[in-house]
Amino acid sequence: MKVGPHRLSSPHLLGIREMSVRDMELVLETADSFKEVLARPIAKVPSLQGITVANMFFENSTRTRVSFELAEKRLSADVIQFSAQNSSATKGESLLDMVQNIIHMRVDMVVLRHPHPGAVHFLAQKIKAHLINAGDGTHEHPTQALLDAYSLREKWGNLKNRRILILGDVLHSRVALSSILCLRKLGAKVKICAPLFLIPPGIQQLDVEVEPRLEKALSWCEAVNVLRLQHERQRSLVLPSLREYAMYYGLKRAMLEKIGKTILILHPGPINRGIEIETEVADAPQSLILRQVENGVAIRMAVLYLLSSASR
């Protein structure tokens, strides 16, 4: 399906909540073209020549950071890498001052990861460059949700009425909220499975069902997105032990074999092997985990390309 005029309706990508279905479809459609570009012997196009992008990461990241950097370089943008540890953030400079200073060096786009939910929304009201949210605390991670949807769409054609389970630490996950919003907007049915203390109150308002029993939830779904158990955000010490979590909510080969149907497996990474997912399951033929990583570059190329032409 081809979607309407080739332009996003917003100058920023702040979150899936703000995105229209048309904009989401446009990103997914455009990513198809960039997947073809990535398969060429010389996987580089000049679309962002003369555009400077600053990747500002105030939290650690491997996949997202490398994926954005690769996407930017494949589009011929000039790239600035910024990490909080080696910056004047350690001297107490505010986020706004730091970003405004960088933008005044004629930076056109900022990719921001920040530990505070809403940081990117705050900046969007203050600065003129295009902003892309690469994860804001436990709030949203829109490009991850788009690449998850894209990976499933590659398998199924579209997501209408598909049954997708989100399993694990929903409370601390920024992927979960973006993923739920994205999948629902694209017409999929979503269930959540996690221990009740890892499910945020009011999650049903997002039009999802909660199923605390893993086996029952797996029997229902066609794909499962396994979330990482986020040790670094477990401030409340509500988790009795990792072993107990793995026993009741880890995705295990034995249970999948018992259910006896092919369920597509996604994981946003990094994987805690043996905790939220067994190694045999993560590396199984129905696992899309490495495909997600590959598709992430195409999705981010599409977002950067489409935003570069949006009016600020």
């Binding site: 080739h6 332009r7 455009t30 060429r40 010389i42 996987a43 390309y305 032409s309």
Partner: protein
Amino acid sequence: MRRLLLNDVQLALTFDRLCLELLSGSGTLSNTLILGLQPRGYRIMNRIRSRISSFSQESFMGYGSLDLTFHRDDLRHRKSPLPTPLKTDLPFDIERKSVILVDDVLFTGRSARAALEALWTYGRPYKVELLVLIDRLYSRHVPIEADYVGRSVNVLDHERVQVGQHEKDEEIKEVWLRTCGTHEGGTSSVE
């Protein structure tokens, strides 16, 4: 206002002549690929493809399409929405092959320039030639000329060449010259 440049009979004769010129001028057919530039050059290529077997038992190595959206030089200068990227279908290794690019109208030459750049991301061809149905004379912005030309026309700035009754028609029956209110270009993809 518009006037007819080529009617269906003239168009059929023009395509036949282009086929014969291709067969006699493009060297070893088994080492030559023909690529239509998306979207309108692809229609021209399909017309040539359907006719060429009437003139020769030998066939070209293959046919495909090339989309040059990401190689356009006007992406940052456009006020209108970005063009929609279309399918590139290039299931061949182009290293050391002869490639003939096909487009509908050669106007400023920017499409052909972008196509050359796009083509080189797939490898290093031995030779590249350009076939166009209509060559708008005296309007080039870059030093590019076609090797095979259906018809050369001298077109004023405020006129544009329209291939087919409607630009999205799959079947091409005629070529028109339209007078526009504003100073528009031809119909080639990058103007």
